[in-house]
Subunit: 160 residues, 2 copies
DNA sequence: CTTGAAATTGAAATTCAGTTTCATCTGAGG
DNA sequence: CCTCAGATGAAACTGAATTTCAATTTCAAG
């Protein structure tokens, strides 16, 4: 947790940017949060500690953290933008469309096949997005049914 | 082309909706367009034939076409919403981040492995999104360089 | 310390894609 | 033809994100 913090400060210094109370608080709060947090959630957590911080500053700080490589932005289906720690190993996601649960996975065979597909069409892959949308164990009809996630009135059902 | 048109009219009738000059034009124009068209492009094409048609009507008609299963909405990276013909075989996409070229692919081995991943975590997949972002042959550094796509100032570079 | 230029902040305004509202118009069944 | 539910389009609205700008803060130099 501290390392990332130091990394961020170093990044700011290198670019002639300043270390501020707000940036410290936002970064610290983000690093302490669990994976896959939304701007609004982060903003609320930050506000509890300092109610005068503006949402704009959260957006701006997230952008800086992304430039620093410490954070990655994910777009899980329309309008569900979440942030997670960067500098981690690559992985893709399983997303429950009912309760919002997100499970990470990585599969080297799939990654390899992707490269083959790209080669076949003469592409060089720079990044990719592989998301599996469906029902997690607790949200499947047969089982004791999980509760729908608060903020997931309309969850993505991207490609058919 | 005509079959889809008939299908749409039938769909409208079944639901007590009306066949209108606007819906006919929008549907016809869409069916004639190439794959992966944006609302704005479609709107412009439609306008050339009837300048008094509103953008709202294009949005509304696309929604109807989606309900009819004739069109699918795709979200290629933030804010790049495109529409393509529905009722086709499932496929995924390769997207050139430089010129915007889109190539479709399907790989049954990948699809199978996806299912395995889902099973491993107890998920039932309802849909998925698999997009490979990178450079197409003509946009690769070595080759005679393609021109950047007009509307692609900022193209998606989703997961790292 | 003190100072001041440059960077940062947050409120408010702005943008952008998409949706809703509503008065007016029109398709299609009788 | 009539009628009226459904459709249209202009304008207003929404929500996420960005820009603007005056006031504030950082930090390096003195
Ligand atoms: Mn993740
Ligand atoms: Mn396609
Ligand atoms: Zn679930
Ligand atoms: Zn290209």
């Amino acid at each position: 947790m501290s390392e990332k913090f130091i990394h961020f400060r170093k990044f700011l210094a290198e670019r002639g940017y300043k270390t501020t109370r707000q940036r410290d608080l936002i970064a610290r709060t983000l690093f302490q949060s669990g994976r896959h947090i939304s701007v609004e959630e982060l903003y609320q957590h930050v506000r509890k500690q300092d109610p005068r911080i503006g949402l704009v500053t959260v957006y701006r700080t997230l952008k800086l953290l992304m430039e620093a490589g410490l954070v990655e932005e994910r777009h899980f289906g329309e309008g569900h933008t979440l942030y997670e720690e960067g500098l981690r190993e690559h992985h893709d996601h399983l997303i429950c469309t009912h309760c919002g649960k997100i499970v990470e996975f990585e599969n080297h065979i799939i990654e390899g096949l992707q490269e083959e597909v790209a080669k076949k069409y003469g592409f060089i892959i720079l990044s990719h997005k592989h998301e599996l949308y469906g029902l997690c164990e607790t949200c499947q009809p047969s089982t004791p049914q999980g509760r729908p996630h608060e903020n997931l009135t309309t969850l993505p059902v991207s490609s058919a």
